[in-house]
Symmetry: C2
Subunit: 196 residues, 2 copies
Amino acid sequence: MHQKPKPHFLNNIFNSNDFNKEELEAILPKFKQKAFKKNSFLLEQGKAANEYWFVESGFIRSFVLDIKGNDITTNFYSVDDIVIDWPSFFLRNPTRENIQALTDCVCWQLDFDTFQKLFHSIESFREQGRTTLVKSYFNLKSHNISMIADQAKERYENLLKENPLIIQNVSLKHIATYLGITDTSLSRIRKEISSE
Amino acid sequence: MHQKPKPHFLNNIFNSNDFNKEELEAILPKFKQKAFKKNSFLLEQGKAANEYWFVESGFIRSFVLDIKGNDITTNFYSVDDIVIDWPSFFLRNPTRENIQALTDCVCWQLDFDTFQKLFHSIESFREQGRTTLVKSYFNLKSHNISMIADQAKERYENLLKENPLIIQNVSLKHIATYLGITDTSLSRIRKEISSE
DNA sequence: AACTTTTCTTGTCCTATGGCAAGATTTATT
DNA sequence: AATAAATCTTGCCATAGGACAAGAAAAGTT
């Protein structure tokens, strides 16, 4: 008996539907595996993002500090997600965002210069990159509309439905600021839901 | 005496810092001038965006309808801005957004197929396209954070500072939904500011 | 296991903003 | 100019969610 070769994690991201063999051989080896300890930072405010990552395992969040020093969660990331500060990475300027591991994580990292070579030389790579960015834009806009159109309770229920893993793995406080409410309010919303 | 040749509007967007002569000659003639009457739609929900525009003159807004049928302004556009529904244009799927002229407008239009040819053949064109998208992402995220971190009054004052032309040319109701408040509240905020 | 720290819940009271409706003002239409 | 239709303001009252503080519970540390 022989063993099946274990497929590379990055084949979840780059697969043979969208890329031919040569392209995969040009792309996959450029990524470096990186482990992050719980609470370590992938990016800190004031620095420019020079890398991005795909998450193989673990949970991550990004956040900013507002004028009063309040910590506001801007996004959560888990398996297969891309972790990137789009503006800082592409505009090459210092960011306002912090990106922090919420658990021990394994990620696959690519740096800007390598990205640029792939982007300008492989059509399918730039098509996929553009698609990923645009989906990210779409999610951000949906979140934005939801902040205006929906009640806090509805926003929480949507997150629960779309992304149950987040709720199970992330502290209430971080979820609350992502939803634009206080942890106190979110606790009450949970109570109300559990008593239905 | 001879006259100076009037520069083409699109030279505001595509200039010789970022593009060489041949590139400009490949790009500029692909855009078609389009006039839109006040209240006419550039894009309607349910359709897929197959074009985008640069605004030479006039004011435009995009909006969505929420579940209860409330109209929520998602963005304003004026001179030199790009008007595009990024997700619909690139993912080629039906949109939730409506884009409507608030005044008579003159725009310059490019369609998807032509865009694709330029994007994949001209490096500087795709660099600029990516930059434009990423800036748009950045603005959206800033708006998002502001919705969570700032009071309605602060959001209004920021808009007033960043984009005074909008306030002078757009109805209070549309500005209010963009800021995530009712027209009633915005009217009170205005009153409060004017009495300071 | 004991202790410390962080997270979550709950109570009391407060504030920003919403809902509705009437009137005033401006803008569009005949 | 007269009328109609939007738009904007204002009053009154309602409510979602915030501020603060005290415990309870859970997680991390020695």
